[in-house]
Symmetry: C2
Subunit: 263 residues, 2 copies
Amino acid sequence: MKVHFLHKPDIKNLVNFIKEHIYDSVIILLSRCSVIYDGRAKSTLNEGDRIIMIKPDGSLLIHKNKKREPVNWQPSGSSISYKIENKQFIIRSIRKKPREVLEIIVYEVYHACAFKCEDYEELNLTGSEGDMVDMIFKNPKLIEEGFKPLSKEYQIPTGIIDILGKDENNNWVILELKRRRADLQSVSQLKRYVEYFKSKYGEKRVRGILVAPSLTTGALNLLKSENLEFKKLTPPKKDQTLSKKLNKKHNTINKIAILDEWL
Amino acid sequence: MKVHFLHKPDIKNLVNFIKEHIYDSVIILLSRCSVIYDGRAKSTLNEGDRIIMIKPDGSLLIHKNKKREPVNWQPSGSSISYKIENKQFIIRSIRKKPREVLEIIVYEVYHACAFKCEDYEELNLTGSEGDMVDMIFKNPKLIEEGFKPLSKEYQIPTGIIDILGKDENNNWVILELKRRRADLQSVSQLKRYVEYFKSKYGEKRVRGILVAPSLTTGALNLLKSENLEFKKLTPPKKDQTLSKKLNKKHNTINKIAILDEWL
DNA sequence: GCCTAGGTCCCGTCC
DNA sequence: GGACGGGGCCTAGGC
């Protein structure tokens, strides 16, 4: 069975339910709870309705009714325990390194589900910085005529250079790539790499180019004053399609046809 | 009613269910689906079991059975629509700025819940950078004897200085605060501010201090070579307790007492 | 384990 | 709306 659920469970059934499904299914509790966290920081959250999600890998999310971000959480690798204390149901998640403890005081569970979430597919994403790197190596003159990329992720003491190359006059060229609008931080990053290279090879023989679809105003000003360069380039999106071994069997959804329009 | 749910719904009931609860409740679908996203980047995700969460503020999350992060998402402010197309149930979320479209092809819904998630409490968090700022303003000699903080979040063309002050010799002192171990980026940030101030007030009259609980090795090396300083300081955690207007009424959970030990 | 940097980062805040 | 930087950032990839 893919899904088990309890509606308005009492504590005994809830405990058994969690015991049975934890580390095997994703458990979701629609609950009224409060939360205490202590670790890298420390927080409290008073009583309210929230969604608790516990995944088999130990990650834990507590969601409010707004925002993409969980209000409290624990990353994967954390370990779950739970008990009754002073007549309250408490879920505790502990992360070892760094030491972080999250406690959920659960006052009421309106609904609980456990989902044996079988997923063998990974996200296929394009338009990231890596795609820019590939594009530049395949077609270096996107940067400029005569540019020769030499290595990617080139490590120096002050960081990791996205692309290191040479121009047609044999100057070192350091590229810092950004998939989105570059900001002050991006310029500082490029400058850090360029300064190390200049200290090694001399002022005149090192250039730094920020490669991005656009620049913030502050970044542009700083770039100019530091004699760094900008090359406008947008990360490429490769063509993608969903594999079409799909929609074959037991699509319980396809039972009734409705108007083919957005609701 | 706090929670409505459907178990193994057919499409007609599912559509009505969503129509009824969207923008009012958090909707959770335990489903088999695939996902297409196109916006700042572009992605596909082939068929598999996932948890879909749609919040009243328009945020949308698609979770796999692992990790804290959703595999696909849309932030709050996005708008939801849905339809049947080629006998498939499709949920579409559109974000206006930047333009981003997310489409979920839903093959099967094992379980659906709608949760009228009432929450009037906000997270109360301590141990953040702001707490360090407060601490330093209250007790400036935590930085050094004679330090006088003058302003916080002081804006200059190359960014925003956490704390600007003067030392006992009337030198400008620029503090860059980090609540956690400071890295290369932190040093570059501080350097960027210091260089602007030096260009304005002269080399000898500006100091830069990185204030953090610790430093990465690379950051330490860079800091030294740039003649910047480090002051070890850990963000303070204020005392906090949950407000105790709690555990009064209708705690359906407290029906059976179990052993008071962690399970 | 530490270090480094990317991210569809999200998010708040201030201009 | 752009800009800037924090975050309990998370996560991946090297070493």
